[in-house]
């Protein structure tokens, strides 16, 4: 198939009528230019947060998880909340690269690199939480099913926690390799266009000798086809498995069949929101308006309004099912503990930020104001954090046995650990902005022709 259907709905994919050479120059400018001052300021702040996080991790490891606010009843606190939150954010990369690739959405080419970068850093942040919650992180390799001298005692293949371990490590390796191989042709472009000898050597090494021959492109296309096809399963499987961590237990509010789709949609929702946060920043700070056009932002907002409706439906379905089930424990969890109880703030925060505020995206005026879009994207991220808190803490703190009820408040160590991962994420994103082409150059070039008048199509063959 030589050409795609062309529609006028989306507007231009790249504005400014750029030549291919200009496209490379424009995208590579931040790498060649002097590092801006705000970058150093932002990096210092991120590293400060990251350093503080490291100190809190040191406290956790040296003194034990007794320094956290978790207790026998609420054994999972901020750690699982933050873990699920980061993994959810990490879903944007695959959702953007794979789902939109399968749906043949050409506009994704401007955004997928940033989304994939974000995925890799977010999954790294996420993996720290279960690692340190093990208490003795230096023994984490016990979770690998390897022949050992303790029996050999194998891991329990029926446990969702083991599934989760497999899912997250696979997800991290696959997203990282997907991201890296997407960058190889772009590293070659840097190698061949830069004037600096040091950059030529460094990027030349990472380009793996890429020259853009038909032999390479042919196999590259084959590889993308295979990876795209199988990684599509991951978009659905990873967060389904995360949801089974909860759904397989018998806690009220967790033991529901709605969880896998509910978690997957929630993950894509928070991922897209974080992508929106990032690309609005990228567009403003690096003046990428020609690549991340208004219609790109518009498209992401439209997706968000759609997913927000699904989220609202899921919340209401959960509440309805609690009532319809007739189970007094379910009723208690939803009506007393979540909607009106001690953690009502988190419930209503979640509901407002995820199901109500994104409805503003129905209005073109809201979608076209970048700062409003930016603020709403931040609110959605916040709302998704509330959602995880709401699920984890309300169910655990008051379950079947009132004698076991307990409250949970995070300690400064837990809060520091979390803010540390935010610093780590920000630092990773800043490094990405500075040293890696933030838009996939070869992909954006391949779609640039759709903006130009097409030559007369040949009507010789149909395939």
């Amino acid at each position: 198939m030589a050409s795609m259907y062309k529609t006028e709905i989306r507007g231009k994919l790249i504005s400014g009528d750029k030549s291919l050479g200009q496209i490379s120059q424009d995208i590579l400018r931040p790498i060649d230019a002097k590092t801006p001052r705000w970058w150093y300021a932002a990096m210092t702040m991120s590293l400060a947060l990251f350093g503080w996080g490291l100190y809190c991790k040191y406290i956790t490891v040296s003194q034990g998880i007794g320094t956290w606010g978790v207790n026998n009843t609420v054994a999972w606190g901020w750690e699982i909340v933050n873990f699920v939150w980061w993994i959810g954010i990490g879903h944007a990369g695959t959702a953007f690269s794979i789902f939109l690739l399968i749906l043949r959405q050409k506009w994704r080419t401007a955004i997928n690199r940033a989304a994939e970068a974000m995925t890799v850093v977010a999954v790294l942040c996420a993996s720290l939480f279960p690692l340190l919650h093990m208490g003795r992180p230096w023994l984490f390799f016990f979770i690998f099913p390897y022949p050992n001298t303790r029996g050999p005692l194998w891991v329990n293949f029926n446990s969702p926690l083991f599934w989760d371990f497999v899912a997250i490590s696979a997800y991290m390796l696959i997203s990282a390799s997907f991201w890296y191989f997407g960058m190889v042709p772009d590293f070659a472009t840097i190698r061949d266009t830069t004037k600096s000898k040091i950059k030529k050597a460094i990027y030349g090494f990472f380009a793996f000798g890429w020259v853009g021959s038909s032999k390479e492109w042919l196999r590259y296309e084959g590889l993308s086809f295979v990876l795209g096809g199988i990684a599509a399963v991951l978009v659905v499987s990873v967060h389904s498995i995360v949801s089974t961590d909860f759904a397989v237990s018998v806690e009220p509010g967790w033991h529901t069949t709605i969880f896998p789709p509910y978690f997957v949609v929630g993950a894509i929702f928070s991922g897209f929101a974080m992508v929106l946060t990032l690309v609005t920043l990228m567009r403003k700070l690096y003046k990428m308006e020609d690549f991340i056009t208004d219609s790109h932002v518009d498209a992401v907002c439209r997706i968000l309004v759609f997913i927000s409706l699904i989220m609202g439906t899921a919340y209401i379905t959960e509440i309805f099912m609690a009532w319809y089930s007739g189970s007094e424990y379910e009723m208690y969890t939803f009506f007393k503990n979540r909607i009106t109880g001690e953690y009502a703030l988190q419930f209503w925060g979640m509901f407002t930020f995820n199901a109500i505020i994104p409805q503003l995206f129905w209005f073109k005026k809201v979608r076209s104001k970048l700062w409003v879009v930016f603020i709403i994207s931040l609110l959605i991220n916040w709302g998704m954090w509330f959602e995880r808190f709401n699920i984890v803490v309300t169910s655990l703190s008051r379950d079947y046995l009132p004698a076991n009820w307990a409250e949970y408040h995070p300690t400064w160590v837990e809060i520091g650990f979390f803010t540390g991962t935010i610093g780590m994420f920000a630092a990773g994103v800043l490094l990405f902005f500075r040293y890696i082409p933030m838009i996939a150059i070869s992909e954006i070039k391949s779609v640039s022709k759709y903006d130009k008048p097409m030559p007369e199509p040949k009507i010789e063959h149909h395939d």
Partner: protein, 172 residues
């Protein structure tokens, strides 16, 4: 041993594809085409095939069998543990790990296959014919010895079909 090449440089995909097809129609063998992004007409008519998708299928097949076999061995044969009276061979819950780990195996093995077959690996020195091919030029490279007396006709063909430059180059 160095070889002599005839290099045609084009400014856009469309002119490259036209010239490329005309050269092929003349029965001349094209040594290689270098482009900033994949062009399906070129990949299609270069007559090279990739079996990377077939390889991926078999990696997946063997990985899935291997994983299920390993879990059966560990949980049923080697050290059976009674989890609340469930059967040792809890096949449905083995599926979860099998799917995810199979996808991981396919990805990694296919990546290595790609790396080996396309010869794209760390530390490889790029054999660059024309440095602009990764930026904004589309390059057709022909073996001059094979062309023989046809060199002039092909050069002419390139020029009349919109080549911005045609030159000769010696390379390995």
């Amino acid at each position: 041993m160095t070889k002599k090449y005839l290099v045609g440089v084009f400014d856009d995909e469309h002119t490259l594809v036209e010239a490329f097809e005309k050269v092929l129609d003349k029965g001349v063998k094209v040594e290689e085409v270098y482009t900033p992004y994949p062009i399906h007409e070129v990949l299609h008519r270069m007559k090279k095939k990739t079996r990377i998708t077939h390889a991926a299928f078999f990696y997946g097949l063997f990985a899935a069998i291997g994983l299920l076999g390993f879990m059966y061995y560990a949980a049923v044969i080697d050290w059976p543990l009674n989890f609340g009276g469930k059967p040792f061979n809890t096949f449905p819950s083995f599926i979860v790990v099998s799917i995810v780990a199979t996808i991981l195996s396919i990805t990694l093995l296919t990546l290595f296959t790609f790396s080996a077959r396309a010869k794209v690996f760390p530390g490889k020195k790029a054999d660059i014919i024309d440095i602009r091919a990764t930026d904004d030029k589309f390059i057709i490279v022909l073996d001059k010895d094979e062309l023989g007396t046809e060199t002039n006709t092909v050069t002419e063909l390139f020029k009349t079909n919109g080549a911005s430059e045609v030159y000769e180059k010696e390379s390995k």
